[in-house]
Symmetry: C2
Subunit: 596 residues, 2 copies
């Protein structure tokens, strides 16, 4: 019975639709349908654009969007989230799989899905907490700049292979004379229209609720609108002037996607790749793609959690399953996008069931709209990408960091610059490394305040207050700070006999720190000073006195400090006479510290 209960609980936790689906009513159906269709209209042009950004055929983008919507229904916990192609996933896909084939893209999705799933199952989601806001900010800004750079050529109607950031711009200027005026005209017009439509969504133009709603809908559906109109223009030219002046997407196979097992070998560039070689080819991508997707998903989930605790593990399982199942139709790696989830939220979605209609709409478009998709001009897709990218460059975050915490600019700037100078992947890794190094540095160099004080009877002492815990990397610094201070003060005054360490901020200590403190006690003793610990907790007392039994002096409060000091003063002479006989003898206990 108990086992059955546990099993049911786990099942409900892992398949959250079992909880909400039985209670699903008509009142949920209508808003979900409306929201699903609205998101569907947003995701369709995005899927096509992101697929071209990833360097794959547009149909794979649509397949990914369709399966993203469907699979999340079963595993997802946050109704607003819609999983599908995103700009960053596209750029990462391009980074790892350009020069390969759809099978490698599917394999990347599959591997990313497996890794996310494993991270979720083994509750390793906390690892993403080590990726800070500045790093993510620098990374996504760099991605946006990279994306803009790679799309400028299409706006100009030029065609060449994109490379690294600098290489892309070099090639752009080399090919600039080949620009096509009609593509450029269309591209710039689309950008202007998109920015205008984006703006009217956020302006408060009218008080009429219906009109407001219509304006909002036009603004939200602006990508679809721009694609539709530019496609119609191209269709008109093609039909009545025999040829369109624009570069078009071209033929997309209609019909349902075919299911495949995850590929175990493939062939491109005239070389066969087996499973191991495929993994070697993707290299760090197998970890970078899932980690970025997870950071992405958890960040979006947090925004829409509405004060609830997010089940991060379950969200990772959902994301992993979406990618794994998506890979069976050669879909690209997917994640949730904040923009789409916001549209979903604003459309009034009630359950994850909205994804059913989003996915279905995309599937229907594949069935019925492919003849039309042929006419979509590439320049208008690039305009959509550029308009999305521009708002991803986080100038506001940079300003925020500059105003509030300049130190945080370092990881952000390092990530941003390295992403553009080397590549997206190296930039992210170097950024995280920089950030963790800074964190370790804080651990190694805590702030230590010090002050000279007197007891009520006039006995002077120095009090040192470390502002955070003393763990192994910090103890040398503490020791050096105190000894240097004692050395610098010893000439001007002879009263520097009592050094107090205030322990209120130290709640944890380790053996290395205790050893260092022992050495500090010896250092100070050799200069005739005593070290007193003010109010150490039990754990600190236990560890330090375990290392240096008789030498550890502590006082529970400032009031009792004097009594301890005086007691020490009395014992001082007798100790000194004992010490004399032991001088020059290397201490046995010292062996513990110098182990070689």
């Amino acid at each position: 019975m108990l086992l059955a209960d546990t099993f049911r609980d786990t099942l409900y936790k892992r398949l959250p639709f079992l909880v909400w689906l039985p209670k699903y009513t008509m009142a949920d159906f209508v808003p979900d349908l409306i929201a699903g269709i609205t998101v569907g209209l947003t995701i369709m042009p995005q899927a096509i654009a992101y697929a071209s950004l990833a360097g794959i055929h547009p149909k794979y983008g649509l397949y990914s969007a369709c399966f993203g919507g469907w699979v999340y229904i079963f595993f997802g916990t946050i109704k607003q989230i819609t999983i599908g192609p995103t700009s960053i996933m596209s750029i990462l896909t391009f980074t790892y799989t350009h020069d390969t084939n759809p099978e490698m893209v599917a394999f990347l999705s599959f591997m990313a899905g497996v890794v996310v799933l494993l991270l979720g199952v083994f509750r390793l989601g906390f690892l993403v907490e080590f990726v800070s806001v500045p790093v993510v900010s620098g990374f996504s800004s760099a991605t946006a700049v990279f994306m803009t750079s790679s799309q400028v050529k299409t706006i100009f109607g030029i065609s060449y292979k994109s490379g690294s950031f600098l290489e892309t711009w070099r090639r752009f200027f080399k090919h600039l004379p080949e620009y096509r005026k009609w593509d450029l005209t269309l591209g710039i017009s689309c950008i202007i229209v998109l920015l205008f439509l984006r703006k009217i969504g956020s302006l408060n133009l009218t008080n009429n609720a219906t009109l407001k709603r219509i304006l909002w809908f036009i603004s939200t559906g602006r990508n679809a609108l721009v694609v539709l109109i530019s496609g119609l223009i191209a269709f008109f030219f093609e039909k009545y002037h025999d040829a369109s002046p624009f570069v078009l997407i071209g033929k997309i196979d209609s019909g349902l996607p075919k299911l495949h097992l995850p590929p175990t070998h493939t062939e491109f560039d005239g070389k066969d790749y087996d499973l191991v070689e495929m993994m070697e080819y993707l290299g760090t991508g197998i970890f970078i793609v899932p980690i970025v997707a997870t950071i992405n998903n958890i960040a979006v989930a947090k925004v829409f959690s509405e004060g609830k605790i997010i089940d991060a593990s379950q969200e990772m399982i959902a994301l992993g399953m979406t990618n794994i199942i998506g890979s069976t139709v050669y879909g690209m790696p997917v994640a949730s996008a904040f923009s789409r989830s916001a549209v979903n939220n604003a459309s009034g979605v009630v359950t994850p069931m909205g994804g059913l209609w989003t996915g279905t709409l995309v599937l229907l478009s594949l069935w019925f709209l492919t003849p039309f998709l042929f006419y979509i001009p590439k320049a208008s897709l690039s305009a959509i990408l550029i308009c999305a990218a521009v708002f991803m460059i986080e100038v506001h975050t940079a300003r925020l960091l500059w105003k509030n915490n300049k130190r945080d600019l370092i990881p952000a700037a390092v990530t941003f610059i390295m992403c553009l100078l080397i590549n997206i992947e190296a930039g992210l890794i170097i950024g995280i490394f920089t950030d963790i190094s800074m964190l370790l540095y804080y651990n190694a160099r805590p702030r230590i305040n010090f002050d000279r004080r007197k007891t009520t009877t006039g006995l002077e002492y120095w009090i040192f207050t470390p502002c955070s815990g003393i763990l192994f990397p910090a103890v040398d610094f503490l020791r050096q700070t105190i000894v240097e201070h004692v050395l610098s003060q010893s000439t001007e005054s002879s009263s520097l006999t009592y050094i107090v360490i205030e322990c209120s901020h130290i709640h944890k200590i380790d053996i290395t720190a205790a050893q260092g403190i022992k050495s500090l006690i010896h250092d100070l003793k050799s200069r005739g000073c005593y070290l007193i610990f003010l109010d150490p907790n039990d754990s600190i007392t236990r560890i330090i006195s375990g290392i240096c039994k008789d030498e550890f002096i502590s006082s529970p409060s400032v009031n009792q400090l004097e009594r301890v000091l005086n007691k020490e003063l009395d014992e001082c002479n007798s100790i000194k006479s004992i010490q004399k006989s032991q001088e020059k003898e290397p201490e046995k206990s010292a062996v513990v510290q110098a182990r070689f």
Copy 2:
């Protein structure tokens, strides 16, 4: 003038002998000579034994010992330190250069010297602070076990190539039937004598000062004594019975070492290696060897610093120069040894000049004693190594960790086991990695105490006290802890409206943390709770209020908490009415957090 001063200061700092040499008197000369000779007698058998441990010809061990003593005079700051071959350096040398030639050993010394020198010049010595006592302890214990395992065969008079720890024991049992009874008898006798002589040095057998001194000298010179006696026995057998029953060292070239430039190419195993290939062959050894040597040296320096601040950079420069200059005679990588430095200290050394006599004695032995060195039985050298190794296995540290801080056993055990299971190098790296991961984990999961309190007027609030700073990896945990607590409490009581975060232990915050706190404020608001910061410092106030201007509520003290709470209570209704109109609209500011 100022420039000249700076130059002179730097010169004095970088060549410390310029300070003490001009003041050198006859009163310094005599104790330095005595100490130098005592250390020389210790280092000679060690150098021969460690060379065989490193898999190189004994003469190179002696060259290293000689140059170690000499070079340190010029650059060293701590009179007790004697640089020369050590057990760990020998094992590392064996790890990286077995199957190669003396040129590769010299190249390893040279590269290690260069790296240590650069670390010293660029003041990167603080990096070794990230290697904790438990890791060093696990590492040196594993080295000792490894060393014992590799020497057991020689005690048994068996000969085979040592491999990994497990492989060495497998081969030992395979070759056991080939054991030679005379080697075994000699080896075990030597071990017993060595342990006995070691013991009498620490016992307080007599009150007669001269006798005490003689016993101490015999105990200190036990290695030389054992080598001398066993060599004489072998000589006797060889002379009067035509052949010795023991395996002997064999011929050592007499005379001065030849000087070479650091090798830039070499050849072994029938393959040519250029500079780059030599570096590739050594791999991580180029960093592991200097880092271990540095940890070693700084640990010994600390023990003998006598309350002075160690100039760690200068010590690293000294160590680097010793290795670089040592490589010109094909010396092996060297470092300081605690045992020898303790002998030096106990012999009453006054300046680093003691090293002159140590080095000179070793050189003289090379000149005059090489005919005798031929007769040293290998088993007696192995006995010396085993007797040194046994006391390097840090059972006491393990016991200390077990008693005082069991968590610290993890990095120690991981390092120890991995060193033996994989190899010395991988074990050290995995150990450091484990340790830093644990440190990062503490950063991510600070202890958060909480308590329910009442103001004097009976208003109830919950107070949360994070025990250490909240930096980026920790904020999610803080958020989750508070939200979970609020959720669990909300059913049983309705008074959970005020959540106070006590900031006394938080002295630093970053943007990621501030963003997380903003989300927390929103989480709590959506459940009708308010978050109040108790006495945040200026930096915290600035950063959090920079991120969420109007929502940041702080109170300077517990006494004023009530006023702040009441003020908030008054404003509450007006805020609520404003909020109503904004509901369901995705917050713009949220975009900052979910950037994709």
